[in-house]
């Protein structure tokens, strides 16, 4: 069984399944991290709030500061059933019903004592590292947090790949900001000097873990797929998307995960789901868009009830796209961080996203693809209806469209979504029957 537990609450939601060593390892890593954070006021450890896309975990690691990722806290709140109240509180305080629910969930959590996913209090930030990568809302989110905390905020503006490529000017712009703004800010709060050799070591470790992550995600090409690359995938990306990239722990986690999946392949097993193993892979689909977190298990189950396995997803690329060959490269430390940031999924223009999805549908021999369009996220969602048509046209495979939200349970209509999924899979079945 190969289901790690990035979001700890997800593990609880899927408690029926037995746990693998990698899952236990991830859980322990996360618990230790949050414990360190809770202890920070006593130990004097410094904490830096930042975002998943374009996170600079290796760089933060060289300064021994602890990352806090508000999106992760928000999704954890969604999984733990807390987000409704948090969002309600934020709306009462004047935040619009129209905007991203991650932000409101975070504000609500902050106003309710800032208790993190493991039940311990999160420390106040010593620095807000506003890595403005792939999403405009980030900018506003940290402006809002800057009102709440008496700490500096440093901006890292990551240019968008509007023309579908990274240019030297874009790279230079990011590297200059790292050198002139971000590194000095980290030196100041940590009291340490920037150590490039240390950064190189961290980056080399990142690349190793990334190799194994890509190997794992690409096993979705096998028939049957030994993994679910969306619902299961969100666990696999946990360590590398969050606080552990560049650590030995991450290397070990991904090595262990890989060997567990090798074993599943050897045994010819399908993915593990909350209800046990998927024994018959009836449908292979690619999914675009983030999952819903408040009904995560129920959502997953709708797929497994149909015998559907997600063989590839774009959500597992929001914190870094590695299956195109990119690896953190220790020989050009700051440039590689810049390329990493600019390469994150939501920083890619729409034609590139369409190409990527079409490639997934083809390379992973999918029957079709599904878009889960979340109300919160214009970065993901604006343009998805066009993506749907373009990918259908290019691949000749059917696309399906469902709508929900990330952490606002008011926008998860189980019956609607279930109906849509059922009709979608029926359509694939009919096409197949017609084709044969």
């Amino acid at each position: 069984m190969t289901r790690p537990v990035a979001p700890a609450a997800a593990a609880a939601a899927a408690a029926a399944a037995s746990k693998d060593a990698s899952q236990e390892r991830q859980k322990a890593m996360i618990a230790a991290h949050f414990h360190k954070l809770a202890q920070a006021p006593e130990t004097g450890d410094k904490s830096v709030y930042t975002f998943v896309p374009g996170n600079l975990t290796e760089l933060l690691g060289t300064f021994s500061v602890l990352p806090v990722l508000p999106e992760i806290n928000a999704l954890q709140s969604g999984m733990r059933g807390k987000s409704r109240d948090y969002i309600g509180l934020a709306e009462k305080l004047g935040h619009s019903e129209d905007v991203c629910t991650y932000v409101k969930c975070d504000i609500g959590m902050l106003k309710s004592g800032n208790i993190g996913p493991t039940g311990e209090r999160l420390p106040k930030p010593d620095l807000l590292l506003l890595s403005y990568t792939g999403c405009f809302t980030f900018l506003k989110w940290f402006e809002l947090l800057a009102q709440e905390y008496d700490c500096p905020c440093v901006m890292l503006h990551v240019p968008y790949q509007g023309d579908g490529a990274i240019t030297d000017s874009m790279r230079k712009y990011v590297v200059d900001q790292l050198r002139k703004k971000v590194i000095p800010a980290l030196e100041k709060i940590s009291g340490r000097a920037y150590d490039e050799d240390l950064l190189k070591q961290q980056l080399a470790r990142s690349a190793k873990a990334e190799d194994d992550l890509v190997w794992v995600l690409e096993t979705g090409k096998r028939k049957p797929s030994p993994i679910d690359a969306y619902f299961g995938g969100v666990y696999y990306i946990g360590p590398i998307f969050t606080s552990f990239r560049g650590t030995q722990d991450a290397i070990e986690y991904y090595r262990e995960l890989r060997s567990e999946i090798e074993e599943r392949i050897r045994l010819g097993k399908g993915p593990v789901t909350p209800d046990g193993e998927l024994t018959e892979e009836k449908y292979r689909v690619v999914v675009e868009g983030p999952p819903n977190w408040t009904s995560f298990r129920q959502f997953w189950q709708m797929f497994t009830d149909e015998g559907a396995c997600v063989v590839a997803s774009t959500y597992t690329k929001v914190g870094g796209v590695y299956d195109n060959g990119f690896r953190h490269d220790p020989s050009r430390p700051l440039e590689t961080l810049a390329d990493y940031c600019m390469g994150c999924y939501t920083n890619l223009n729409l034609p590139t996203r369409v190409q990527m999805l079409a490639r997934y549908v083809q390379d992973y021999a999918a029957d079709g693809f599904l878009i889960n369009s979340v109300k919160s996220c214009n970065s993901f969602s604006a343009g998805q209806l066009m993506i749907l048509r373009e990918v259908e046209q290019r691949t000749g495979r059917p696309g399906g469209f469902i709508e929900s939200d990330l952490v606002d349970p008011r926008y998860f209509s189980a019956s609607n979504i279930k109906n849509r999924l059922e009709s979608y899979f029926q359509m694939i079945a009919q096409k197949r029957a017609g084709g044969s």
């Binding site: 405009f136 509007g162 230079k172 002139k180 109300k375």
Partner: protein, 387 residues
């Protein structure tokens, strides 16, 4: 031109969703026309290359959206759907390209959609810097401008020369000064410059060559200064905040005025006021001067990262400068930049003891009854407090 005919002309331009003025200009001059989405692009660069910059501000409430809705979910603002509709119905055929400035993720993603939908056209996402150090963000921005000039040069724009750019900067400086002059006049004598009229003039600036637009502004200013029949009324002075991208329908502006509000400052068609004060027009390196203006003279808009300043301070300052007695937050539905910014602005406004109210609109909102009542009550309460 009489005031009435001038306003008629501005109204015609506003309602002309085929962009006939742009088509005529192209026919007359043989030049290129390049569109831009809200909020800000440096039009001076286009102008210096002999290109007509054309503001694409959506379609208001005059266009039935037939295909645009098939591109967007219900929870996305209205502007991109009407823009797509205008693209698909051929109205924007007269544009040789479209610039998508870094305003928000919706406009950003629309740039990629445009590339796929209209493959022959020049499409560029103009990534404006959020770092304001000249050697960092300034260098990046300058490179962006050079890239645009290079690409448009290949498509038939004249080569960008320093002399031409200096002349264009001067032309837009004059235009900005005229717009500012009208805003000042409206602050002093709001009965002379009804906002519905001022708004039409701002919109005319989206499709007319800058010289022609400046002439229109001058004529209007002269005419309303002399219009003694425009007498003061007992209205509440308000600042309207948040309408910087998707524009409210003209009917909404009129509704607010009829409900007892003098709008004495606003965020409409913000490109005209994005740069505060003149851009240096006599420098050795005018492209750098233009980049510096972006860095140091740009307004603290919701779409710009507020680096050293206090959030909301600029709004409070504007209230004081304009003599507004209250703020109406008037943002498009589902507009991330405006709505995420609003709680911070509200905090600042409340701290300063300024009354405020808020509502949302879409560019095609057709019913104003609720807004009329809310604005009327707000205006009444302001007048009551000030007595």
């Amino acid at each position: 031109m009489t005031l009435a005919s001038l306003l008629q002309r501005a109204d015609d331009l506003y309602r002309d969703l085929r962009f006939s003025a742009v088509r005529d200009w192209k026919q007359r001059t043989g030049g290129l026309a390049v569109g831009y989405m809200p909020v800000y692009v440096p039009r001076e660069v286009l102008h210096a290359m002999g290109i007509l910059p054309v503001g694409v501000m959506g379609a208001g409430d005059d266009l039935e959206i037939i295909r645009g809705d098939a591109f967007y979910q219900s929870y996305i603002c209205h502007l991109p759907r009407s823009t797509i509709e205008l693209g698909l119905n051929g109205a924007l055929d007269c544009l040789d390209g479209l610039l998508f400035p870094a305003t928000c993720d919706v406009i950003r993603n629309l740039s990629g959609m445009w590339m796929m939908q209209f493959p022959g056209k020049y499409v560029h996402y103009l990534d404006v810097p959020q770092d304001f150090a000249p050697e960092v963000g300034g260098a990046f921005y300058r490179h962006e401008l050079e890239q645009i000039a290079g690409a448009l040069g290949k498509r038939g724009g004249k080569p960008l020369t320093a002399a031409a750019l200096r002349r264009s900067i001067a032309a837009y400086n004059e235009n900005r000064a005229l717009v500012d002059g009208l805003y000042e006049l409206r602050q002093r004598e709001p009965w002379k410059v009804p906002t519905a009229e001022l708004y039409l003039l701002l919109r005319a600036g989206c499709v007319l060559p800058v010289e022609e637009h400046s002439a229109m502004l001058r004529d209007y200013t002269t005419a309303v200064r002399a219009a003694d029949d425009r007498r003061p009324m007992d209205q509440a002075r308000v600042l309207l905040a948040g309408s910087f991208c998707e524009q409210p329908p003209l009917g909404l502006i009129r509704t607010l005025e009829r409900a007892g509000c003098y709008i004495v400052d606003d965020d409409f068609v913000q490109i005209h006021r994005w740069i505060r004060g003149p851009v240096r027009a006599d420098g050795e390196d005018p492209l750098q001067d233009l980049a510096n203006a972006y860095l140091f003279q740009g307004i603290p808009s919701a779409i710009r990262y507020i680096d050293q300043q206090v959030k909301g301070k600029d709004l409070v300052d504007r209230v004081q400068q304009s003599g507004a007695e209250g703020v109406i937050f008037c943002a498009p539905s589902f507009c991330d930049p405006a709505l995420l910014d609003q709680p911070m602005a509200v905090t600042a406004v409340e701290r300063a003891g300024i009354p405020w109210t808020a509502f949302k609109y879409a560019e095609n909102t057709g019913q104003f009854q609720v807004i009329r009542e809310q604005a009327g009550t707000f205006a009444d309460s302001i007048k009551l407090w000030s007595e």
